[in-house]
Amino acid sequence: MSTLAQVLLDGLLAGMLYALVAAGLSLIWGVMDVINFAHGEFLMVAMYLSYWIGFLAHVDPLFSWVASGVFVFLLGVLTYRFLVSRCIGKAAMAPLLATFGLSMFLKNLCLNRFSPNFRILQSTLLEGKKILLGNIVIGMPQLVTGIFSLLLLFALYFLMKKTRLGWAIQATAMDREAAELMGINTDRIYLLVFGLGGACVGIAGGLLTSYLAVHPEVGSLFGLIAFLIVALGGFGSIPGALAAAVIIGLVEALAGFYIAPVFKYVAVFAIYLAVILVRPKGLFGW
């Protein structure tokens, strides 16, 4: 029985981590209908920054996530200004392919500069610590990222629903032209949203260096799972992304233990297909 509880808990916490990673992507997609293909690479860049800060200046990821968040915010802003804004609306998948080019560029730039070596911080504040509830182990890094995830998602939700900026963002998302007519500078909004989306994944990356090794490929699978999550959650829905992330985390953990670990991700992709074919707009999409 405690094994099942452990599996469920692991799945839940993994799902929370995925939600943290996917939150930014969901925001961007929901507002401007752009899937940032370089999302996984944003995560990787954030992890590298946090690693170097930790390695060179001995600042723990528990604090350097702020720097990562800010850095990837700027990266998101630049990406929007120089890349996405110039191809939005031009051709069907232009932003997707443009950000794919960006992902190739970022990944190989880091490969070239930092080598493919796996780098891991040796003693971080969170690594190796855990809480024991009877037989059940709760890893501290996973717990902390889970808490961050909830806080961030809540903050995003609060931003969108309860602040004027959030209303402006929602208006832009619903109808760009109408929002312009209302005096909203939608280009500025898009810029901000892309930056915010970047900041979210930047925070995730910053925290991940507590316990995960960084290398140029580290973002690939996370990015792919983030795409699944936002599509599963549905267009324009941040709670949807959270629900989808938790579902995927649980499916991964349950399939991994009760079927076989090697089928972990097959189950995840299969669940996506199963759900999306029944609900073509995701769980909560509009």
Partner: protein, 419 residues
Amino acid sequence: MQKRKFLSIVSLLVFALLLSAGSALAAENVLKIGVLFPLTGPCATAGQRCVAAVETAAEVINNKHPELDVPLAKQEGILKGMKIQLVVADTQGKPDVAKSEAERLVNQEGVYAIIGSYNSSASKPASAVTERAKKLFMCGCSSSAALTERDFKYFFRLAPTDKTESKEFVEYIQWLNKNQKAGIKTIGLIYENTEFGKHAADEGKAAAKAAGFEVVADVAFNPGATNLNSEVQTLKAKNPDAVFGACLGGDYTLWVRTMKQMNWLPKVALNYCTGYQDPKIAQQLATDGNFFMGGTGYSPEIGAKYMKKVAAVEKIYSKKVGVPFDSDSIQEAVALFILAQAIEKAKTLDVDKVAEVIRTTTFDSPLSLGGKVAFGPGGQNMKATSIITQLHDGKYVPVYPPSYAETKATVPMTPWDKR
């Protein structure tokens, strides 16, 4: 108007054609050797180290190094002053790229032989190219046993295979049961689901079953996974006494740390090549990596005791990559040395004659554990051995075979909470 379109399409193709640079006229008295390794992609670090090892060997062979006590060091070049010129190419870790780069090396660059290619999945098609072209392929450290089960005439591999490694692991466990009352009855395997991991696991399972052990856990994982929770949980649930591991770099650290988090360890953990053998990873894991074991063909500690002639050569290598030799890269240096020694002995560049010399000679090889290299059927180095080492605070301490053992291994591995 239409002519312009036709012309531009054709000119694009011609442009593509003309981009090809012809191979440079060979300089006098130079022997071109192809060096084919993954310089980009996930195995790039290992690939770059292998290239550095071959470069080190080439430097020793090409120049007078009277201070080094290895074959060909005291002379300049081979066959009366012929220098080795290395042509380096990148497989990107992909078999199709390996195949076309091997072809380019052989056909465009006109190399005499190829040394490569680290990944077994790349070595296979690359050596198929050289075999068809009747050129030599010296394979340092690809571990798949299948490579030397192909009846190739021009293919030679230096390192032990995962078949021999598996047999040694099993032998060691039997020895532990007898001499340290280890009480190991069940085996589990955890491996990345790739050509390398799957092949190693298959050999491990076969060897374990042949010796009468029960295989209770067979955990394949997706390399680059975001977490290894299910994998470690499965191992913990099945609780094998001994685990054979085949995990590269980042997955290896994640595996170790997840086991720490879930507070589980087998009595014995034996690793096939790489994550365990990478000195940088051992350093990063610090005390978490302690008491894991694996097959090692070389480490500075082993070298200091049993391969004393390596240290001086290692200085040249370390200047290039900043780390000492490891089990994999050193085999690539050996590969070039053996090739050069064979050419020197055959006194000719005739490929068939050189291949014959390689097949029938027992070579002196101070960079090989045991000091000798001799090839058997299929091109496998029959003298390839490895020592089983255990990590103690970043040092690979030999524990088996008894003739090399420096200490008794810590068996069972010290549990996490007691460290």
